[in-house]
C-alpha cells in the first residue's frame, strides 16, 4: 500500500475510532493498518492507538474553511492625515486614560480641529458614533457595512444628489449634506425635502438638525410642513424650535399669559428711564414647577411678546442673578428658539456678569472664535477654572497664554504645596492642554516643569501632545 493510500485509509477510519472512544468502546480492532505497532496487550494497544491517532489528527486534520468566506474591503484613507507615528503612543495613552466616551470624543475632536486623525489601530468610531467628527464618516460607514455583512462599498460620487442619495452610507451622507448646506443652503434643503420621507424617525431628526447651519427665512416653509405633518414628535419639536429661531413661533395660547404672570416689567432710573424685569417669585413648589413647565413649552418671541417686549428688549431688561432658575430658563429659551443675533446679544450681556454656567449653556450655538473669546474673558475676568473654560471654548480655542490667568497662578501654587499629590488637578492640566495654542502649550510645559512638575508627568500628556502636534487645522 502506498503512503498516500495508507494515509487515506487512516483518515477514513479515524471517525470510527473517535466515535468508539467517545462511547467508551475499545478501538484498537478498528485500526488494522497499525496492528504491528499496537502489539498484543489490549490495554497498551489502546494507549498506543491514542498516541498515534492524536498525532495524526493534530498534524493533518484541521477545520475546513467554508466556501463562502468574505473579505472585508480596505479601511479607507481619511481626508485628514493620521497623527505622526512618533505621537501615536501619546495619543494611545491619552485614550487609555480617558475613562469616559466624552473625553475620548474631545480628544478626537481636538485632533480633527488641528488637522489630524487617529491611527485606525488606536481608535476607530463605531457605526453609530454620532459624536465622532465628520472627517471619520468613511470609517463609520466602513464599520456599518462590515457589520451589515457587505463586502464592497457602494460607489459614491463626490456630490450628494437625490439620485445618488441611497448610494451613500449614513455617515458619509451626513458629511456630504453638511458640506452642501455650507455651499448652497437651498440645494441642501431641497434635497432633504425630496428624501426625508424615506428615512426613519431617528435619521430624520439627525438630518433636520443639520439645517441649523445657515438657517434662514428660506427654510420656513419646509420647517412648517415638518412641524405640521411629520410623524415623529421629536422631529416636530425640532422643526418648531428652528422656526422659533427664525421668529416664527407658534401662536401664543393661554399658557403664555399664565407664564407672563410670573414676571412684571417695571421701569427704573429718573433721567434715563429703562425697563427691568421684576420676578414674581413663585410661592409653592407646585408654582415653581408650573413656571418651569411653561418656560419649557414656549419660545423667546412669544414670551417677550406676552410681556409687551421684543426679544432684544427682554434680554436687555432681564435682571440677572436674582432668580437663577428663571435665568437658566431664559438661557434655554434663547439657545433653543433664539436667533443668532439674540444669542450673541445674550452672550455679550451674560459674559459681563459672573455667570459662567450661563455662558457654557450658550456655547454650543456659538462659533469657535466667539467661544474662545468668552473662555479667555472668563479666565481673565472671572477667575474660572480651566475645565470650565474648556467647556465654554470647546476643542478649537488656541488660547495664547492661558496660564497667565488667575487660575494659572492657583494651579502653580497648588503643585508647589507640600501635600500635593501626583493626581492633583489632573482635569485642569488636561483642560489646559485642550485650550492652549501650540506655542502656548510649549511655553506652559516649560513653566510647569520649571515649577517642579516632572517632564514625564502623565497629567501633562495632553499639553505634550498639543505642544508636539503641528497645527494644521483651519483657523477661524
Amino acid at each position: 500500500m502506498s503512503e498516500t493510500a495508507k494515509a487515506e485509509e487512516i483518515f477514513e477510519t479515524m471517525g470510527a475510532i473517535v466515535t468508539r472512544w467517545t462511547m467508551g468502546s475499545t478501538a484498537a480492532s478498528a485500526a488494522s493498518f497499525w496492528r504491528t505497532e499496537l502489539g498484543d496487550d489490549p490495554v497498551e494497544a489502546e494507549l498506543r492507538l491514542l498516541a498515534l491517532s492524536g498525532q495524526f489528527l493534530g498534524a493533518t486534520v484541521m477545520a475546513e474553511a467554508p466556501s463562502t468566506l468574505r473579505i472585508l474591503p480596505d479601511i479607507p484613507t481619511l481626508a485628514l492625515p493620521t497623527v505622526p507615528e512618533a505621537l501615536r503612543p501619546l495619543v494611545c495613552r491619552i485614550l487609555a486614560a480617558s475613562k469616559d466616551t466624552v473625553s475620548r470624543t474631545e480628544l478626537v475632536h481636538f485632533l480633527a480641529a488641528r488637522g489630524w486623525t487617529t491611527h485606525p489601530a488606536d481608535w476607530m468610531p463605531d457605526a453609530s458614533d454620532e459624536d465622532a467628527p465628520d472627517v471619520y464618516a468613511l470609517w463609520r460607514d466602513w464599520a456599518a457595512f462590515t457589520a451589515a455583512g457587505e463586502t464592497t462599498r457602494r460607489q459614491t460620487g463626490d456630490q450628494l444628489t437625490a439620485d445618488n442619495w441611497d448610494d451613500f452610507w449614513p455617515a458619509a451622507r451626513k458629511a456630504a449634506l453638511i458640506g452642501l448646506r455650507r455651499r448652497d443652503p437651498s440645494a441642501a434643503r431641497a434635497l432633504l425635502e425630496a428624501k426625508l420621507g424615506s428615512e426613519n424617525a431617528e435619521a430624520r431628526l439627525r438630518l433636520v438638525s443639520l439645517l441649523s447651519e445657515r438657517l434662514s427665512g428660506d427654510d420656513v416653509a419646509f420647517l412648517e410642513s415638518l412641524a405640521a405633518n411629520d410623524r415623529a414628535p421629536k422631529v416636530k419639536a425640532l422643526a418648531t424650535s428652528m422656526l422659533a429661531r427664525l421668529g416664527h413661533g407658534p401662536a401664543a395660547g393661554e399658557d403664555i399669559a399664565e407664564l407672563a404672570g410670573f414676571f412684571a416689567v417695571k421701569t427704573k432710573g429718573l433721567l434715563r428711564r429703562s425697563r427691568v424685569i421684576d420676578f414674581q417669585t413663585p410661592k409653592t413648589p407646585a408654582q415653581w414647577q408650573r413656571r418651569k413647565a411653561l418656560l419649557d413649552g414656549t419660545d423667546l418671541t412669544s414670551f417677550a411678546g406676552a410681556l409687551g417686549l421684543t426679544p432684544q428688549d427682554l434680554i436687555a431688561a432681564w435682571d440677572w442673578h436674582v432668580d437663577p432658575a428663571a435665568d437658566a430658563g431664559l438661557i434655554k429659551l434663547i439657545v433653543e428658539t433664539g436667533t443668532d443675533a439674540q444669542l450673541a446679544q445674550a452672550a455679550g450681556v451674560v459674559s459681563e456678569l459672573d455667570a459662567t454656567g450661563l455662558i457654557a449653556a450658550l456655547a454650543p450655538r456659538l462659533g469657535p472664535a466667539e467661544r474662545a473669546r468668552f473662555a479667555a474673558a472668563g479666565l481673565r475676568a472671572h477667575g474660572i477654572g480651566f475645565e470650565m473654560a474648556q467647556v465654554i471654548a470647546g476643542v478649537a480655542a488656541r488660547l495664547d497664554d492661558p496660564l497667565a490667568a488667575p487660575s494659572g497662578a492657583k494651579l502653580l501654587a497648588g503643585i508647589r504645596r507640600d501635600d500635593a499629590k501626583p493626581s492633583d488637578h489632573a482635569g485642569e492640566f488636561r483642560a489646559l492642554g485642550l485650550l492652549a495654542s501650540q506655542t502656548a502649550a510649549q511655553q506652559t510645559l516649560q513653566r510647569l516643569t520649571a515649577a517642579g512638575l516632572l517632564q514625564g508627568d502623565p497629567r501633562l500628556d495632553m499639553l505634550r501632545l498639543n505642544a508636539a502636534l503641528d497645527d494644521e487645522g483651519e483657523k477661524s
Binding site: V18, L50, A59, T68
Partner: protein, 462 residues
C-alpha cells in the same frame, strides 16, 4: 539631584536587603539605566531570577520607588540597588525621555506619603552599609562534606525520578480509564477529572505536567462542541507521548521541563549547550494570566528581526497570585538589541533575557520573510516535539476573512491556506492587507500576536 548612601541605608528594611542590594550595585546586572533631564527620576532594568528583567524606578525627590519584582519587601533589593548605583555614580544615568512605564507609575502613585522621606527613622533593626559591602570569604569545605552533599543530591534526584515515573503510571492508567468510560463523559466533567489527576501529579513532582492538565479543560471548551472529541484525543495523545518520552530519557532537560520543573536561570546561563543569540528583537505581545493552579504566568513573545537564528522567543515567568498585580515589563511593538539565552531544546523557543543594549538602531528593520512553507511550519515542529501545544508562526502575506457566522479566518494571499482565527480580529486587523502576521497556532486556532500592514504595525488580540 543627588542622594547619598546614607539614604539607601535608611531606606532598607533590614540588613539582608542592604546586603542583597550591594550585590546588585554592579553595572553588569543592569541595562537601560537612565534618568530624567531634571535628575528627579531614575530608572533601569535589573536581571532577576526570571526570564523577564525587573523594571525599577525611583523618584529622587522623595525616594518614592517601584519595582516589578514580586518581592514583598518594600523597597526591594532592586530599588536599593538602583539607588546605590546612583549614589555612588557606578554607572552613568543618561538623561533621556521618561519611558512610558515610568510615566504610568507616576500617574498611579499615591503620593509622597507612600514613600518614606529620606530623614525618617530606620524601619527595623540596625543596618550597616560597610557590613553589607563585605564579601564574606567562602569557607573552605571539607571534601567529605562535598561528597556527602553530592551523594544526597543524587539520591534526591533519583527519588524525584522515581516519584515522577510513578505519577506517570497513574497518568496513563487515568487516560486508559477515560477511554473506557467514554470521552463524552470526560468532556462533560473535564474540569473535575483533570483537577484530580493534576493533584496526583503535583504529589508526584510532575508540576509542569500538572499545570498543563489543569489548563486542558479550558482549551477544550474553546473548541466548537463538535470538535471536542477530536480535541480530546489530540490532548490525551500528547500526554501519552510525553509520558513515554520521559520514560525513555528521564534525564533529558527538555522533556523534564515539560514534565517536572524548568532549570533555574543560573543553570541555563551556565549550560554550554544553551544557545545564546544576540539579535534585534521586537516585542510581539505580552500576556499576564492567572492560572487554575493559582500561579500568575507572565508571557512575552519576541520576534527575531535578524535574518537567521531562532525566529521566535518566549520569556516565561510564574509568580504567586498573592504577590499582587504586576506591571508590564515590555510594551508591544518595542524593539531592542539584546542577548537571549535559550533553554536547550531541539527547537529553541523558551529563553531568558541576558542583556539588553541601550543602543537603538533597530527601528528601521523590516519583519523577516517566513523561513519555510506554511505547511512545514505547521507540522515539522511536531516531529521533534509531538506534545507541543502551541507553535509560533510567521505567516506570509494574507488577510482576514469572515464566514457567514461572523467568525474570522486568516487566508493567505495566494489562496493556498486558510486558518481559523481565535477571537474576532476586528477593526484594522480585518480591514487591510496583512503583509506579515505573527501568530500562535494551537492545532485548531490561530491567535494573532501582531501583524504588519500598509498602516504599519497592528497589535493582535492576545
Amino acid at each position: 539631584m543627588a542622594i547619598g548612601l546614607k539614604a539607601v541605608e535608611q531606606l532598607a528594611t533590614d540588613q539582608s536587603s542592604l546586603k542583597a542590594a550591594a550585590g546588585l550595585a554592579k553595572p553588569a546586572k543592569w541595562s537601560g539605566v537612565g534618568g530624567s533631564a531634571d535628575g528627579a527620576l531614575i530608572w533601569g532594568e535589573c536581571a532577576g531570577s526570571g526570564a523577564n528583567p525587573y523594571r525599577v524606578m525611583a523618584d529622587l525627590r522623595d525616594l518614592g520607588n517601584k519595582c516589578t519584582c514580586p518581592s514583598r519587601k518594600f523597597p526591594c533589593k532592586h530599588v536599593l540597588g538602583l539607588l546605590w548605583l546612583n549614589a555612588e555614580s557606578i554607572v552613568p544615568f543618561v538623561p533621556a525621555d521618561t519611558p512610558a512605564w515610568v510615566s504610568d507609575w507616576l500617574g498611579r502613585r499615591r503620593g509622597p506619603s507612600a514613600a518614606r522621606p529620606p530623614g525618617a527613622a530606620a524601619p527595623s533593626g540596625e543596618k550597616d552599609l560597610h557590613v553589607a559591602r563585605n564579601v564574606e570569604p567562602e569557607a573552605v569545605e571539607d571534601p567529605k562534606d562535598i561528597a556527602r552533599r553530592e551523594a544526597q543530591a543524587a539520591k534526591r534526584n533519583e527519588d524525584t525520578e522515581r516519584a515522577i515515573l510513578d505519577a506517570l503510571d497513574a497518568l496513563e492508567q487515568w487516560i486508559g480509564d477515560q477511554l473506557r468510560l467514554g470521552l463524552s463523559g470526560f468532556i462533560d466533567d473535564a474540569t473535575a477529572r483533570c483537577r484530580r489527576i493534576a493533584a496526583r501529579l503535583v504529589d508526584g513532582k510532575a508540576a509542569a505536567l500538572a499545570g498543563r492538565i489543569d489548563e486542558l479543560p479550558a482549551r477544550l471548551l474553546a473548541l466548537a462542541a463538535g470538535d471536542r472529541p477530536r480535541g480530546t484525543v489530540v490532548e490525551l495523545a500528547k500526554l501519552v507521548l510525553l509520558a513515554r518520552a520521559f520514560r525513555a530519557t528521564p534525564r533529558d532537560a527538555e522533556i523534564r521541563r515539560a514534565v517536572a520543573t524548568s532549570e533555574t536561570r543560573e543553570t541555563v546561563l551556565a549550560d554550554p549547550r544553551a544557545p545564546r543569540i544576540d539579535a534585534p528583537w521586537e516585542v510581539l505581545a505580552e500576556q499576564v494570566q492567572t492560572r487554575r493552579d493559582g500561579l500568575v504566568s507572565q508571557t512575552t513573545w519576541l520576534l527575531n528581526l535578524a535574518t537567521s537564528g531562532p525566529r521566535f522567543a518566549i520569556l516565561l515567568d510564574f509568580f504567586p497570585a498573592s504577590a499582587g498585580r504586576r506591571g508590564s515589563v515590555f510594551t508591544p511593538g518595542e524593539r531592542f538589541q539584546g542577548e537571549l539565552v535559550f533553554y536547550p531544546s531541539q527547537q529553541p523557543f523558551r529563553a531568558l533575557l541576558v542583556r539588553r543594549d541601550a543602543a537603538d538602531d533597530t527601528s528601521a528593520l523590516e519583519w523577516p520573510v517566513p523561513d519555510g512553507s506554511l505547511s512545514d511550519a505547521l507540522t515539522r515542529p511536531l516531529l521533534a516535539e509531538p506534545w507541543a501545544i502551541e507553535l509560533p508562526l510567521l505567516l506570509p502575506q494574507g488577510r482576514i476573512a469572515r464566514d457567514d457566522s461572523g467568525s474570522a479566518w486568516w487566508r493567505s494571499a495566494d489562496g493556498t491556506a486558510t486558518l481559523p482565527v481565535a477571537g474576532n480580529a476586528e477593526g484594522l486587523l480585518s480591514g487591510t492587507e496583512l503583509t506579515r502576521t505573527a501568530a500562535i497556532w494551537s492545532g485548531n486556532r490561530l491567535t494573532i500576536l501582531a501583524a504588519q500592514s500598509t498602516w504599519g504595525r497592528i497589535g493582535g488580540h492576545v
